[in-house]
């Protein structure tokens, strides 16, 4: 706990949040939103297709979307890490933060399983199974929870 407190009270945090420049907090926050748009946007498209929307699109051809998923994830892991450092002590004690992290981990894991079941398997049929569809729907629901939790954290912060 003392470690997270020292991060939150560090000179870095003071500079990062206190700076009048738009290139510190505002830009990292915006990058976190850009990464979300890429990561969740690409996941949304793949999972809609698995749920049989635009069913004439060959699933295998959507494979490059996973590259966008990992690019978006990398942007958000990095920007998220910076944002976490600046409020480490608050977040480590915040249950909503754990809800967000768990939702993201589960949503990504389901996304990888769906990829293995519907895209990677050679000759996988373009009509997905009920189980794959359920996993796609669950992943979309988890992304929704992650987004709502992320938004709520901003309000819990100002209350703290």
């Amino acid at each position: 706990m003392a470690f997270f407190r020292s991060l939150q009270d560090s000179a870095f945090t003071e500079w990062f949040l206190g700076s009048a420049s738009i290139w510190t907090y505002p830009t990292v926050l915006t990058l976190h939103t850009v990464g979300m748009a890429i990561l969740v946007g690409a996941s949304f498209v793949i999972h809609l297709r698995v749920l049989q929307v635009a069913r004439d699109v060959p699933l295998r051809r959507l494979l490059p979307l996973y590259r966008f998923i990992w690019i978006g994830f990398a942007i958000n892991l990095l920007s998220g890490l910076i944002l976490f450092v600046t409020e480490a002590a608050d977040r480590i004690a915040d249950p909503v933060f754990y809800v967000k992290m768990a939702s993201i981990a589960a949503a990504l894991w389901l996304g990888v399983i769906v990829k293995r079941r519907t895209i990677d398997r050679p000759g996988a049929p373009d009509v997905t199974t009920g189980l794959s569809r359920s996993m796609a729907a669950a992943s979309l629901a988890l992304w929704t929870i992650a987004i709502v939790a992320g938004r709520l954290m901003a309000y819990l912060k100002s209350a703290a």
């Binding site: 690409a42 929307v53 635009a54 699109v57 987004i147």
Partner: protein, 162 residues
């Protein structure tokens, strides 16, 4: 414009909505979900128009568009609520007007695609490369939507005199 903002703020509906403390964060969450739907759905078509995702027939990608449009409508609706609750914040902000301008560019670009390019785009072969005009339209759409996102997210920070 600021008189208009003052009038909106004086209405009962503005006061009532702003008085519901849960409404603002709820609309923000919906606004984020809508933006993922819009950028995800429209982004795939844009990238295909730019020449990526060969093998994905353009006429089939279009079946995703109702979801992208749904995302846009969610954001237009929640955006209208933000505007009703805090008219001064937006109407007096050059960044917000830039956001509106980028939405107009994206909409005009989509209209141009629908009216001029869609017929030939929809009949293109599955693996066909796209002509330059479609690549430009795809890139224009993608850039405009990310510019809309940028203006929206940076609105509280840009143009504040820093």
């Amino acid at each position: 414009m600021l008189e208009f903002a003052a009038w909106v703020e004086s209405t009962q509906i503005s006061k009532t909505l702003f008085g519901m403390s849960w409404l603002w964060p709820a609309c923000e969450s919906l606004h984020f979900i809508g933006l993922c739907m819009l950028i995800g759905g429209a982004g795939l078509l844009d990238l295909r128009l730019m020449g990526m995702f060969r093998g994905v027939p353009i006429r089939h990608v279009k079946a995703m568009m109702p979801w992208a449009i749904g995302g846009f409508l969610i954001n237009a609706g929640t955006g209208a609520l933000f505007l009703t609750m805090q008219p001064h914040l937006y109407l007096s902000s050059a960044v917000w007007w830039s956001k509106v301008a980028f939405i107009v560019v994206a909409a005009a670009n989509a209209l141009f695609f629908e009216t001029r390019l869609a017929p030939s785009a929809l009949s293109m072969g599955d693996n066909a490369d796209t002509p330059r005009v479609m690549k430009v339209v795809g890139a224009c759409s993608l850039i405009s939507w990310f510019a809309v996102l940028y203006c929206g997210r940076m609105l509280p920070y840009l143009g504040t005199g820093n």
